[in-house]
Amino acid sequence: MSFDLETAKLSDKLRRVAIEPVSRVEGHGKVTILLDDDDKVHQVRLHIVEFRGFEKFIQGRPYWEVPVMVQRLCGICPVSHHLAASKALDIIVGATQLTPTAEKVRRLMHYGQILQSHALHFFHLSSPDLLFGFESEVGKRNIVGVAAAYPDIAKKGVLLRKFGQEVIRITAGKRVHGTGSIPGGVNKSLSREDRDFLLKDAYQMVSWSREAVHLIKQLHQQNPALYDIFGSFRSNMMSIVAPDGGLDFYHGALRARDADGKIMFDQVDYQGYAQLLSEGVKPWSYMKFPFITALGEENGWYKVGPLARVQNCNHIPTPLADAERNELVAYGKGAPLHATLAYHWARMIEMLFAAETIKDLLHDEDLMGDDLVVSGEHQREGVGVIEAPRGTLIHHYRVGDDDLVTMANLIVSTTHNNQAMNTAVREVAKRYLDGKKLTEGLLNHIEVAIRAFDPCLSCATHALGKMPLEVTLQDADGNLLDRLAKVSHGDD
């Protein structure tokens, strides 16, 4: 297995530069770069450095606790985990068809989540690079700087995020880590006051989201040389799509295209994801490397998330977002866009789709219905898949006769993008860093590429590593708290 710039020969002769922590992303990651005496880049790696062990400690818990537990994987997209787990557990409680009220309340919750997460990511985290430049002054390159230089943009970003969070609060009970969704349905619907409260701002959100699409499109068009080329690499793309091929974040079946846009598989029931996908492990990251099994590890990796979704689907079911999608597709002149920064463009189109969908849903009387839960014949195993803000999210559980979980497997969005992000940073290193004296601004180029994927490194840290040394942890008074013993697999 060889990927360009993944592993240097004679690494001990090279100089190491680390970006640690990767900032303005969620979660814990670092990048290491190995250079020779002429500043030539020999190796670049994005490492995920934390583990939390969720898959293991969910085992032995009653299945109904799972949707509330697993959202603690991630505070940015808790709703995605909450709902992916609920969808898997719907199958386990035999709820093959939810009530219209339950399905629509969950959809509303999820589109609120997409809206708030995309707003947070674009405005709070990424916009400083795009508005000020990648090598602009460090102290200003953040949301505080944006608030000072572009108060209107910052304010709309804050309010778009707020609206998404309010949709979540009303459907889930709490903005972060709510409890609204349960196996087989939801535990509450909307009151008329809730509905009116959200509806009064919904149109404003559609128009601000549209402005955001125009902003990023303008940035792209002002500097096509940068936006088309920066961190660009060819890859397969995967997402779920609706039965008619439309974009749908809540439910659908798996579709993948190759780098030329040709469909490789379509409408595959995700209950069978395990026959389709495998995961590789590399010694230098706790995050696994998924791939399409039939194509193998070297050729079977893919990207997920906004840029994959917007191009993988045939259309977007709301008019304003669909028109914007058509423009993005036309920009590619018949070929898929693979430019890393086009992720932002696609993301803002998705935010517009989310705002339009929320507005339409709020006109649906079913949201205020009182038929909330169904159940049927219990099953032992279920898979739930959803399109989280950052891409396809897979939850898979088995439950024993005693209703306790016996197996959990999670493939989170950021994990699907692991190889894609590593490839993007290597492309950036080759083009912008190779042979140069590294400066803070040049190193920020690497982070700009990572940020485009909006990785949630927090979600991605549910596994753990072996320990090469022994260290001890002492408290403030020097008492021994913990000891790390050497446990290396297979040889001790």
């Binding site: 994987l73 505070g75 804050v158 495998s278 197996m407 942890l473």
Partner: protein, 180 residues
Amino acid sequence: MNKKIKVATTSLAGCFGCHMSFLDIDERLLELLELIEFDRSPLTDIKICGPCDVGIIEGGVCNAENVHVLREFRKNCKILVAIGACAINGGLPAQRNQLDLRDILEEVYHTSVGLAQGSDIPNDPELPLPLNKVHPIHEVVKIDYFLPGCPPPADAIWKFLTDLIAGRTPKLGHGLLHYD
């Protein structure tokens, strides 16, 4: 104008939900930015904590790197705040404390379903050493304030910070003290 209060924030073994709740003060964030200045934080590109007035820590301690960052914060921050269940008592990640580290490793990287051939436990020196247990941060350094909740509500964070900035002893009144 008075000098702005310097605030640093970080997430150790947490989910960023406490940071999200901080941002849930919504437009008050823009108001707050008139009074404070961020040092190291996931919102800025400052990678190492400098001298600060207030340090806010989300998440417990699960690996050697967390210990290092926590000590860096204690050294530099006059007031150190544990925010949320994870920082205060380990929270959900501490569920792994009853399990054997090695069993988890084996399962996730060696025996679990769908792994490519030859998969094994990651062991690169770039990866920080995981601790056998997840620890609350007050076991490692002295903490000045504890803000409970998973996450604490945005209004509690707002009240706490505005009290502190105004020089009052922070007090969470009725309705702001949550443990869920």
